[in-house]
Symmetry: C2
Subunit: 198 residues, 2 copies
Amino acid sequence: MAKSFEFLFDYGSPFSYLANIQTPGFARRAGAAVIYRPILLGAVLKATGNSSPMAVPAKARYMADDLRRWAARYGVEFRMNPYPFLGNTLPLMRGAVAAQRVGAFGAYHDAIFRAVWADGLDLGDRGVLGDALRRAGIDAATLVAAAELPEVKDELRRNTENAIARGVFGAPSFLVGDELYWGNDRFDFIAEALARSV
Amino acid sequence: MAKSFEFLFDYGSPFSYLANIQTPGFARRAGAAVIYRPILLGAVLKATGNSSPMAVPAKARYMADDLRRWAARYGVEFRMNPYPFLGNTLPLMRGAVAAQRVGAFGAYHDAIFRAVWADGLDLGDRGVLGDALRRAGIDAATLVAAAELPEVKDELRRNTENAIARGVFGAPSFLVGDELYWGNDRFDFIAEALARSV
């Protein structure tokens, strides 16, 4: 069996954005396939009793610096996103599951992460979201409709419940078998785990 | 002026233990002096509204794995310490300030970190603490008495208040000028900051 690892993410998580940028190149170098798992971070935090680092003001200030430092290290655009849609990423995460089902995941995934954390757009505005999807060559009406299908909702719920059952408490999370890695800064450990998983 | 950075720590923080092991070698390579600042992490958490990662069960389980991975990476002994004295590190941190004043800091610092996180000892037991100090060549009675001096208590309080005023919310923390770095895994960023600080 080919090597693989799971990447669990929420579009509302800026460290997931940074991890996502590194993931394809890392996977290529490690000779491993990436399994992308959309999860609902808000539900994970609630179920585990965890809270966003942004809830502690001093930590939020530090996180802004840390994000800026990582973006500079990676040489990528980054800006904090001020819009309230980040408090409920359910529609965007259902959209990710829908995009996986209609074969548009790559374009959707990159377009949403970029719109939120590089362009700082308000994706709570249907017009802004529709424009971002169209620019990515995605039929916005079809995707938004697919995101409302019961099987799509169920799959996101299952992804999230499975993640919690496997020890996930935040995002981004990576799983190599049952081994959990949290954050954009654990690729070295993930590489070691993949090297062990022959 | 020679380059320097501040290392803020609490003996109750296992990531401070791991950071401490790396700090002297890092400082040597960076050509920078280390200013060791004992702080009372409990007071920092309380003042900032932050909480220990150990307060969230799923996060505590992950942290145990993460600590084990870092200890293996660094090639050092590590074990979780189960004793309740970790809930109040005030005597140990006052001891650090006292040790700085009597010129015994290096021996005290290494002995306490090792006793807590490599040997897993109960330093809430006066006999165990006394033995650990004696093994490190420290006059336990003198140090314990010095730790009760008003100026020692004041200095620890000032260290902690200054840390909070400068944005510290956890441990270990590093300061290069006003730039804050949190955790045992930010030495690369600290090196870059030191390289900028001519």
